[in-house]
């Protein structure tokens, strides 16, 4: 049987429209990339996606995304912790502004970060005397990707931390654990999957990011050129097959990450409820 019976109407209409719209807007156009790249021979495809300039762009894109996601995992956990556990003046506004990178268009973030981190910018001029260049180097790419990824980590950890039952911590304390031991051995294991999920979400977003990066990156081939920019460069040279090949390589990675994130989220949900339910189920 395809579906369980229900007295509610509209199933066929709603599902039919959903699948039609999904196919027209997303599935058919996405499959166009795979079909287009299939017109190339395997050797042509492989030499396109492993050309030295493309390999250098993978190193930058994946390396900078990894570093940015690690920074976000650490500071995102700290920000979530402070927002859930402590009270301070202006907390409501601080909390609302965490979503700024979601709301601020990437091009605006891009030109602003490039201006701040340029050698005469607000932050850049502090580092220029030390001989550290940020804008137009891979370091600038890391900065932009950190900006973009932060809310993913904070917003994934926050609800899990809010639901964490204080009884568990009290139990740990009454058994003689220090505060740090309680955090490391009791709290961290149950929010660990959420931290990992946030990390993966930030990483996945960073890999495809374009707008916030290109202004600060400087886009020097082999040095500070990200993979999405390379797709645009190929398109502007009317090298459709080349652009599509790189896009397919990126899509394969993105889909693998999407699967990983789904698995992580399922794990996160599995780790959490038993602990909460067992404790919360006990009458006080």
């Amino acid at each position: 049987m395809f579906r369980q019976s229900s007295v509610l109407p509209g199933f066929n209409l709603a599902l039919g429209f959903t699948v039609l719209y999904l196919s027209l807007i997303v599935l058919i156009p996405l499959s166009a990339t795979f079909l287009k790249s299939a017109t190339l021979s395997w050797d042509e495809f492989w030499s396109t996606v492993t050309a030295p300039r493309v390999l250098a762009s993978y190193r930058l894109t994946f390396g900078a995304s990894l570093v940015a996601a690690l920074i976000n995992a650490f500071f995102g956990l700290l920000v979530a912790w402070v927002l859930v556990r402590y009270d301070f003046v202006g907390k409501g506004i601080v909390d609302a502004l965490v979503d700024l990178p979601f709301a601020l268009p990437t091009a605006v973030a891009g030109i602003t970060l490039a201006t701040i981190y340029a050698k005469n910018g607000w932050v850049g001029h502090l580092f220029a005397p030390l001989g550290i260049k940020i804008a137009f180097t891979p370091l600038g790419v890391v900065i932009a990707l950190t900006f973009i990824g932060l809310p993913f980590v904070v917003r994934t950890i926050q609800p899990i931390l809010e639901d964490f039952p204080s009884e568990v911590e009290e139990a740990a304390v009454s058994l003689g654990a220090s505060r740090w031991q309680t955090f490391r051995m009791v709290i961290l294991p149950s929010i660990g999957p959420a931290v990992l999920t946030g990390f993966a979400l930030a990483f996945a977003r960073a890999i495809g990011e374009y707008g916030s990066v290109i202004f600060i990156a400087g886009n020097i081939p082999m040095v500070s050129e990200i993979t999405p920019l390379l797709i645009i460069t190929k398109l502007e040279q009317y090298d459709y097959a080349g652009a599509t090949s790189i896009a397919v390589a990126m899509l394969v990675v993105s889909f693998a990450l999407l699967l990983t994130i789904n698995v992580l989220q399922a794990w996160s949900a599995r780790v959490r409820p038993p602990a909460v339910q067992e404790i919360a189920g006990e009458p006080a």
Binding site: L8, P9, T33, Y86, D99, T112, F147
Partner: protein
């Protein structure tokens, strides 16, 4: 008396043993705010400072420029088409997924999220491959003098793609949580399907719907990468606000670029304010 004094000591004791010493709390809050200040608040402030750096008159000139106004109009048009379409889709998808049990549901949910996991550049590329001159429908479209890519329809399509999941994503968990009892009751009492939807379901999901629409709209108006690929960058014709910002910036006209960018930053602030207000309603509702 002794009992009334004894009661409040328990939470106080609990707060003591399950929180950090005061100095550590201060240090952690300080580090968190320093990080947020450097990475989030400073750029936000910089947009407005840079926008007014050369004075108010330069600011207004940049906004009153015909190309800027054309960009604003095109952005509003793209959002006015993309948001309602994705709204209708979101409601339909959430109705099917949240109110019914069927095979392949979890696959469908995963597929709905696809646009979020695809690079915006690829979101633009796929429409070039479909409708560009070398694309599947390219020759046919050229024969009939229809332009999709490097014209307004392409911009609208790319905008629809990148904002595709927003409304559905908000509504599905909300409607799943609300269940089907209220709708079933309405149907048993003789309401038609549409009546049930308008008078029972819609009032229940209105805050979630608004939340999704606001997020969808913010992304629709601010999208850069996907729109950039399909736009063709023709000033006054196929430039949206973010693309206009890019052109001004690349022409070393920073003051004007930031002036126009401040419009988008203002939209972002309004979005965040609306989001946190509606979020309170949503959580109060549960």
């Amino acid at each position: 008396m002794s009992q009334t004094i004894a009661l409040p000591t328990r939470p106080a004791l609990s707060a003591q043993v399950t929180s950090e010493p005061k100095w550590l709390r201060g240090v952690l809050i300080g580090i968190a705010l320093l990080f947020l200040g450097a990475f989030l608040w400073l750029p936000l402030l910089a947009v407005f400072v840079e926008a007014f750096r050369e004075g108010v008159s330069v600011y207004w000139q940049a906004l009153a420029d015909p190309d800027a106004l054309a960009a604003v109009r095109l952005t509003l048009l793209a959002a006015a088409i993309a948001v309602p379409l994705n709204l209708v889709f979101g409601v339909a998808a959430a109705w099917a997924i949240a109110k019914f049990e069927f095979r392949g549901k979890s696959l469908l949910i995963t597929l709905l999220d696809l646009p979020f996991s695809v690079s915006p550049v690829i979101a633009g590329l796929i429409y070039v491959l479909m409708f560009g001159l070398q694309g599947w429908f390219g020759p046919w479209l050229a024969e009939h003098h229809i332009r999709i890519v490097f014209a307004v329809p392409g911009i609208v399509l790319a905008t629809i793609f990148v904002t595709f999941p927003f409304v559905a994503r908000e509504l599905i968990p909300l409607m799943q949580e609300q269940g089907v009892e209220e709708e079933e009751a309405a149907l048993v009492l003789g309401a038609s399907g549409w009546q049930t939807f308008w008078h029972v379901t819609l009032p229940n999901i209105r805050w979630g719907l608004l939340y999704g629409v606001i997020l969808c709209n913010a992304r629709a108006m601010g999208e850069f990468g996907a729109v950039s690929v399909v736009s063709g960058h023709i000033r006054g014709l196929t430039n949206t606000i973010p693309l206009h910002v890019e052109i001004l910036y690349n022409e070393y006209n920073a003051a004007s670029a930031f002036a126009v960018a401040s419009l988008l930053a203002f939209l972002a602030l309004v979005t965040l304010a609306a989001k946190s207000l509606i979020g309170r309603h949503l959580h109060g509702h549960h």
